[in-house]
């Protein structure tokens, strides 16, 4: 692909006839149908089977999905899904991902929602099941054999008599013209032959041989190169731009200024780099930043928007009568997505239409944002997903798409924008939010927890732009749109049902709201008050957003409680859990790790030598969207303060597993990404600006480390719905490592990352 590929191109090559898309996607677009997500209309009507599945005259199956792959394995798993439901080999399926001209609007690919959305009885899976049943009904008519006596297999519908018709013969170049049938029967997991099997990523050979096209490789005829010039300080605004300062730069096409957005366009990329470096812009000073060393106190001093998640209203009373009350505070920094490739996008904006090749997770919301930025009608904007560097959440993908659009708009020619590393790290992405979490718990005489009180404080500014808020990412804000911010508000009492999407509610409490207890534990006296305050920096979802922060606090505090009563950390957890799925993964990890059952810390009189210990943590991701437990064996060097993890064992249950090979890859990667975040990653700043600007100041663990062993135990359950899987394991890593450090040394780390300096300080604070 070198430029836009229309739906027609795909269908021509697959031999199908889908007449509603026969012209340029920006022309004559059918306006029928509503998008699946409330008020956002999409021309690709998700209620119609033809929006999802097309079978060509050659029998090739083309499927259209609104959930895209950026390395997490969704391309392969969805291809398996189609192959399974339609009973064709994987290599007879062509999956088209995320293009506002041709795929259904499935919002954003995020939040471990792709599997629940497209692999249960909805979305892509339900469409595929509908298609299989439709093919059988067509064969029923053609062969005169009752549907019950027909089976679909290997691209044919067959009768027991031996008669058969290929899918290509059945569809004969026609559309289905059917609605997606919510009652179409999915193939049962016990009958699966493709889904549930370990299929290596379909793009693997293409990746390792350098053939795969990333968005960074998109070339459009006549394409120019753009770079952006960002403010030197948070809050700084443009005072003046001296275009004369770049007049001599060869190849310069234009200096572009729109409010506080500044960029340059040149014929070639190095010319754009030079122009961006040379351009003299006078900026206002900016508003200054709160001191990083006091930041966690600062957070707590800000006006907050409060949500009472659970409140049994007896916590203070129970704490007053408890045998012992423990308190602790946990701190988690801002962290970066830090995609290895700085973000890139290509836009071709003309007088009355625009096309954007974007690594966004959200093609339809991005289409809305681009339409707003340009003042174009929605239907005149096309956003095509092209994979970028792995994103792990809201990296610079959306912001760079806006950058490309603004620059292309100014020159009315296609423009490719490549962010620099500093652009990406300082003025590109929406950071994972900093958080401070206060914990209190009361124990009775037997050591059982009788009350748990938790107050997390998290920061927020902007976020995913969605359909309505282009100012939620940096470029939108620079161009004059306001980001969503925090409106302070006192808490209302919890109502409805427990919603634990951020894992603010610990696993060990009952989670009772309006008389219904949706938590995973049995502690009935519970209170969780969640505070959100305005962030000085843009924030957004970063793999397991706030779930990691909260789980770090809960699972370390649980460890502190078990140590206080001299109980084994696994046994103590089990004592307070009632959710069978969470219990199952915890037991599985203890068994696989040959868990050494005893209280922490390990008694070791030799404090001057390298100490080793084991820790555990577990979570029901988002309360019910994936279950994971993790053990970590770590070594702590008291001289250097360095922590090295030797062995992780993860046990995960996510319902029926779509692809165990992909799942293992996600668990292994999640665990080690979590280790890097726990041991070294932290955004830093001075009084005006971010100072973690590159890989020399933002510390990611490189490939050349002593890589720990990572064992995975996969619990496959086919009697429940599929849950998310890609964000579960990372959620418990910091806690498991922190608990292992405590077990090894008796020193408790309550602040991420566990840098050598913090580890040494904690060691020195031991009694």
């Amino acid at each position: 692909m070198t430029s836009g590929v229309s739906r027609r191109d795909f269908l021509c090559t697959s031999g199908a006839l889908v007449v509603s898309f026969i012209t340029s996607p920006l022309l004559e677009r059918p306006a029928s149908g509503q998008g699946p997500f409330a008020t956002h209309p999409s021309h690709v009507d998700p209620a119609k089977l033809d929006s999802w599945i097309a079978v060509g005259a050659d029998g090739l199956v083309t499927a259209y999905t609104g959930k895209c792959d950026f390395g997490q394995g969704m391309f392969t798993a969805q291809t398996q899904l189609i192959a399974e439901e339609l009973q064709v080999p994987v290599d007879r399926v062509r999956l088209i991902q995320c293009d506002t001209s041709i795929t259904p609007d499935q919002g954003t690919t995020s939040g471990s929602q792709s599997t629940p959305t497209n692999f249960n009885d909805s979305g892509l899976a339900q469409a595929a099941a509908t298609a299989r049943e439709a093919l059988i009904r067509m064969a029923e008519q053609r062969l005169g054999v009752p549907a019950g006596l027909l089976t679909a297999a290997n691209g044919f519908v067959r009768a027991k008599s031996g008669q058969r018709l290929s899918y290509g013969e059945l569809v004969a170049g026609q559309r289905f013209n059917l609605a997606v049938d919510p009652k179409a029967k999915r193939r049962a997991p016990e009958d699966w032959t493709v889904l549930g099997k370990p299929v290596p990523a379909l793009e693997l050979s293409s990746l390792v041989t350098g053939q795969f096209e990333f968005v960074h490789n998109v070339h459009v005829e006549g394409m120019l190169h753009g770079r952006v010039v960002r403010p030197p300080a948070v809050g700084a605004t443009v005072v003046s731009v001296d275009e004369g300062s770049v007049r001599g730069v060869p190849g310069l096409v234009k200096v572009v200024v729109r409010k506080n957005f500044v960029g340059v366009v040149a014929e070639k990329q190095p010319q754009a780099v030079q122009a961006a470096a040379n351009l003299k812009v006078i900026w206002s000073r900016g508003g200054g930043l709160p001191a990083q060393k006091d930041f966690y106190d600062y957070i707590r001093s800000q006006p907050s928007r409060d949500v009472m998640m659970v409140d049994s209203q007896d916590v203070e009373e129970k704490l007053a009568h408890a045998t012992a009350v423990l308190k602790a505070t946990y701190c988690h920094p801002y962290q970066a997505h830090g995609s290895v490739g700085s973000s890139c996008a290509v836009a071709d904006v003309r007088a009355d239409n625009a096309t954007v090749w974007s690594p966004t997770q959200s093609v339809y919301p991005t289409r809305s944002g681009v339409a707003t930025l340009l003042g174009l009608p929605l239907e005149k904007v096309r956003v095509v997903f092209v994979r970028g560097s792995g994103c792990y959440g809201l990296n610079g993908a959306d912001t760079v798409s806006y950058d490309a659009v603004l620059l292309s708009h100014a020159v009315q020619r296609p423009v490719r924008v490549q962010l620099s590393r500093e652009d990406e790290m300082v003025w590109g992405e929406n950071y994972g939010a900093a958080s401070v979490i206060d914990q209190r718990a009361g124990l009775d005489g037997s050591g059982t927890i009788v009350a748990w009180d938790c107050e997390p404080w998290a920061v927020s500014l902007g976020g995913r732009p969605g359909y309505d808020h282009p100012g939620n990412v940096i470029t939108g804000m620079l161009a004059g749109f306001e980001p969503e911010t925090v409106t302070p508000r006192p808490p209302s009492q919890p109502a409805g049902q427990l919603r634990n999407g951020n894992n603010a509610v610990p696993s060990y409490v009952a989670g009772c709201v309006a008389g219904k207890c949706g938590g995973c534990g049995n502690i009935r006296s519970e209170r969780v008050l969640f505070h959100t305050v305005k962030s000085p920096f843009f924030t957004g979802p970063l793999r397991s957003p706030l779930r990691i922060q909260n789980t770090f606090a809960h699972e370390c505090f649980m460890d502190e409680l078990s140590a206080h009563v001299k109980a084994d950390p696994v046994a103590y957890r089990l004592r307070h859990l009632r959710d069978p799925r969470l219990i199952a993964v915890l037991k599985a990890v203890a068994e696989a790790a040959k868990w050494d059952t005893r209280p922490s810390p390990k008694l070791d009189k030799h404090r001057d030598r390298v100490a080793s210990g084991r820790g555990v943590a577990c979570v029901a991701y988002e309360g019910d969207n994936g279950y994971v437990a993790l053990s970590a064996e770590a070594e702590v060097d008291p001289d250097s303060g360095r922590v090295e993890v030797r062995h992780f064992v993860a046990a995960q249950e996510c319902g029926p597993i779509s692809n165990p090979a992909g799942l293992r890859n996600q668990i292994e990667g999640g665990v080690l990404q979590g280790m890097s975040r726990a041991l070294g990653e932290e955004i830093t700043w001075d009084d005006r600006e971010i100072t973690s600007t590159s890989w020399s100041t933002y510390h990611s663990l490189p490939l050349g480390i002593a890589v720990p062993l990572v064992d995975c135990v996969l619990l496959n359950r086919t009697d429940v719905e599929a849950t998310g899987a890609g964000e579960s394991a990372i959620t418990v890593v910091a806690a498991a490592i922190g608990n292992a450090i405590f077990d090894a040394t008796g020193a408790r780390l309550r602040q991420v990352p566990f840098t050598p300096a913090r580890v040494k300080a904690a060691l020195n604070q031991r009694g």
């Binding site: 390395g71 997490q72 394995g73 290596p200 990523a201 793009e203 693997l204 050979s205 293409s206 990746l207 390792v208 041989t209 350098g210 053939q211 795969f212 096209e213 990333f214 960074h216 490789n217 190169h225 060869p250 070639k268 990329q269 190095p270 995609s339 290895v340 490739g341 700085s342 890139c344 994979r387 970028g388 560097s389 792995g390 792990y392 490549q418 620099s420 590393r421 090979a661 890859n665 996600q666 292994e668 990667g669 999640g670 665990v671 080690l672 990404q673 280790m675 590159s694 890989w695 020399s696 990611s700 663990l701 490189p702 490939l703 050349g704 480390i705 002593a706 890589v707 062993l709 990572v710």
Partner: protein
């Protein structure tokens, strides 16, 4: 601007660019190669790596004017999907990729190092990979793949 000849993946290309241009931009923008990628532009991550006369170099901080007649090999020059190089095959066998953006740095750094140091210890190999980032953290599989290649090489 001046015309510069470079030898990439066994072919000589003449390009009309400023000699100060980073080699990466020539490979990506002029020759439309997909293997070497812009990661940081600072030589810190490895995504732009190519092999030049047997050594792994960071093309984002290498001026095209200084390349001369050196033989440059990019990730796509090593082997193809139909006929992958043994180290690429090892990565396929171990399923050692997620997003895959970092692979030029990982594969070419390891290959160049092992070709020059076939008896390297694990510590020496780790040292060679100190400046290579994979942010999906496919470390376990990548190290297995590199060891598989190293063993095959010795056999």
């Amino acid at each position: 601007m001046s015309t510069i000849s470079i030898n990439v993946n066994g072919k000589v290309h003449a390009v009309d660019v400023d000699p100060e241009t980073p080699l990466l931009y020539v490979l990506a923008d002029e020759l439309h190669l997909r293997g070497p990628k812009f990661g940081c532009g600072l030589g810190q991550c490895g995504a732009c790596t190519v092999i030049m006369n047997g050594r792994a170099v960071r093309s984002c901080i290498t001026s095209v004017g200084g390349v001369g007649q050196a033989e440059i090999v990019t990730l796509e020059g090593l082997g193809s999907a139909g006929n992958p190089h043994p180290i690429q095959q090892a990565f396929i066998d171990e399923e050692a990729a997620q997003c895959g953006f970092c692979l030029s740095g990982v594969i070419l750094t390891a290959k160049a190092f092992l070709d020059q140091n076939p008896k390297a210890t694990d510590d020496e190999l780790n040292q060679a990979l100190r400046g290579v980032l994979c942010r999906c953290f496919v470390h376990v599989r990548m190290i297995k793949a590199i060891h598989r290649y190293a063993q095959g090489r010795r056999a």
